[in-house]
Each structure stands twice: as C-alpha cells, then as structure tokens.
C-alpha cells in the first residue's frame, strides 16, 4: 500500500537551517547537510529545502548545498525559494534535486507552471501555497508570506492542478509555528477536491496532529520543521505511533 509521507522541512538562510515562528523571527537550527543525512537515516520519507534568502548572488550557495545533499542522502528531496525560470530549475535538478517548489513566480506568471510541467514533467513540479485566512476566506500570499494576493487558496489550488503541478505544498500561515495542529478544514477541502497529492504544512505540535491530518485532513504527506529540528518529536517514534493508530507508514 502507498504510505503517508513524513517530510522534515529545512528552511535555509545563508547556508544554515533556520526556523521562524509565523515566518518572522528566525533561529539557527544547524548544518543542513548533517540534518538531512540524520533525517534520511531516521526514516524521513522525503526532505524539503526552502531557501528563504534566495537572492541572485546567493543562488550558487544553494546549488552547492543541493549537490552536497544529493551525494549524502538516499531519499528524494525538493528545493524551493526564489525559483523564477526554467533555467533556475535546470540548475537545481542538474545538481541533484528531485523536485522543485515554486510559489511567488507561479502567482506572478501562472503560465510558468505549464512550461515547467512540459519541460521537466509534472512529477518534479511542486507548487507551494502560503495561505492566510481573513474574514473566513483563505487567501494566497507570496514572498515568504509578506504579500497578499487576490487569489483564493482553493480556487488557486484547482488551477495549479489543471496547469500540471505534480503536488501542492499547502502551508497555513495562521497555523505555522503555533504547534496547535494543522489547518484541517483547508487541507481536507483542497486535498479532497484535487486529483494530485497535497502536502500539509504549518502547525504540527504533537503526534496526534499528524494522525489527524492524514485521516480527517485527507493529506497525502505532512511537513514539519522545528518539532524535528529541536527533537521534540523523533521520526522513528512518530512512525511507530502512526502505525499503531492505523495510518500506513514506511517503517
């Protein structure tokens, strides 16, 4: 049976892993290559690297990091942050990334999703949605959550699937960093309506939250950062718990 995926996320700034609360205050959580290797050995199913300082002059640092990770880890990984063109994607895939994740560029130029899917195949095109609720409506945000758009998250997710996105990485900005649980309704609404996998992100604080997002949240994968980086939940114990609770995971 296909298993539910557990995905540690490494936010990268200047070559180091950091994790903020609600995208702002950043703390240093260590060497990304060492962390990646550790998670891979502990049974993480995939990894996501998000370069949150992805300026043009830092791009080479990211490509070097991707090369190092690709040499060391034996599980798939996705790289995102500042990707805006087919050339950016070429460079990251050539360095050994398995998938790329785009967000702001997809909002600015939706056609880019079609082009990337055609050029590289849907399987390596992950589109991230940073969603924030205002007056009961979920709105897409870009630029690391700083910029609101006029796109509604659910409609945008549908458009992404139609344009050939392979997976959606759905982050609830309201839940991110709170450890109060994933955005269950939003995740279930989007995952239940789409023919492509949805990775839930934002709000993981306990093992129960993972079980919930895989069952009533209908997520295909769940992503978390600080609870893994700061060893609040270990991946092996999380998998053991999920298995006991009847969620199919890779052991």
């Amino acid at each position: 049976m296909l298993t539910k995926r557990i995905i540690p996320c490494l936010d990268i700034k200047d070559g180091r892993t950091v994790k903020g609360v609600n995208f702002v205050e950043l703390r240093d959580a260590g060497d990304p290559v060492a962390l990646a290797k550790l998670y891979s050995e502990q049974g993480a199913d995939e990894l996501v690297f998000l370069d949150i300082t992805a300026t043009v002059d830092k791009r080479k640092t990211l490509v070097d990091l991707v090369t190092q990770v690709a040499k060391e880890v034996r599980i798939p990984f996705t790289v995102g942050g500042g990707i805006a063109s087919i050339q950016d994607v070429y460079a990251l895939l050539a360095a050994g990334a398995d998938k790329i994740s785009i967000n702001s560029a997809a909002v600015k130029t939706p056609q880019l999703i079609d082009e990337l899917a055609k050029e590289f195949g849907s399987q390596c095109v992950v589109v991230a949605i940073d969603s924030r609720q205002m007056d009961g409506v979920d709105w897409v945000h870009t630029h690391g959550g700083r910029t609101a758009t006029t796109l509604q998250s659910k409609a945008w997710a549908k458009e992404l699937a139609d344009r050939g996105a392979g997976e959606i990485l759905l982050t609830s900005m309201d839940h991110d960093g709170t450890k109060a649980g994933f955005a269950m309704e939003l995740t279930a609404a989007i995952s239940g309506a789409l023919p492509i996998p949805v990775i839930a992100s934002g709000g993981a604080g306990s093992m129960l939250h993972f079980k919930e997002v895989f069952t009533s949240g209908k997520a295909d994968a769940a992503l978390a950062a600080s609870i893994f980086h700061f060893k609040e939940i270990g991946i092996p114990e999380l998998k053991m718990y999920l298995d006991e609770e009847g969620v199919v995971v890779r052991k």
Partner: protein
Amino acid sequence: MKVALIKYNAGNVQSVCYALERLGVEAELTDDPQKISTADRVIFPGQGEASSAMAYLKERNLDQVIRDVKQPFLGVCLGLQLLCTHSEENNTPCLGIFPQLVKRFIPSADGQEKVPHVGWNSIENLVDNPLLKDLPDARHLYYVHSYYATLGEGTLATTHYIQDFTAILHRANYWAIQAHPEKSSTLGEKLLENFLALPST
C-alpha cells in the same frame, strides 16, 4: 567496473550517478554506442515523457544499441516503460524487450487514490532472482509515475496502487525497476548493489 548510463533527454540522471558513487562505482553518462556496448553494466535511467524519449533514442540509433546490448542492463522508471512493447503515453511504440504494456493509472472514483502515484509503496509477490537476493526487511521503494507496466511474463515483483502492476521485471540480460532505487534508501541501494554483482555475460 565500467558502468554506462545512457544519456538521453531524461531528467535527474545525476542522482543515479551519486547512488552508484555511494556504492564505490563511477558511472559514465554517455550516448556513444561504442561506450555503451563495451561497458560492464548499462543503466537506462528515466524520468520524462515516453514519445519524446523514444524519438530522441531513434534519432541517435540508441534504440538499436539498447536491443543489441549483451551485458546486464537495468531500466529505471521511464527506462522500464520504454523497454516494454507499447505505452499509452502519447500512444508510443516502445522497444519491445518485455511483452508488458504500459497504461495510465485511472484515479479511483472515490478520489482516495490520486495520479501520479507518488511516494513509498511496498513490493510483493517476489520471484526468486539474483536481483532480489538478500534483500533487507524493508519492502518499500520510492515511486513517482503516472503510467505503469501490466503484469506478465518476467514480472519479478508487484506493487499495488489502484491495481497490481509490475514493480520489477527480468528477461535474459535485461532487468527493470519502476521505482527509483537511487532514492529508495536501504532497499534501493541493495537492488543496485545486486545489479552490479550480477555475473557478466
């Protein structure tokens, strides 16, 4: 040992190189027929679209080179599909090494099973074969695909997603794996190690 990785317009060949490096083997990415036919092992990686990949192979006469290979040959992912007889992906006639047909997954009506099939899934119904020797207890491999090979002669292992499909194939000097062994942790590494350890022909 000389390992040739067939170079064509497929994505992410680099991770196969790294996986082989971790096993102490250096592979050469090449589309030179001479180098392919004189290597000790040939690996046909893949990720991409069937019709453009077949067109690319034919333009360079690599389709014939692949059919003529005598040494142990391993197709991976799209590499497996192109070794089959026909793919539904843009109605593409393939290399015909294996009799299997390649079909598109149809998402289940309840929306529980989506397409592509992405993630870790288990291999089952294993047939005794040198490629599957001394496998670790872990039985999951990493998959990313929208098309699958049907069951049939030469199917060494199956995986279940929507229905049973061919996970691993073997005929003569050709082996093929639908999942990505280079990304499949301990089990994937063992499959690659077993492939490298096959007797040369």
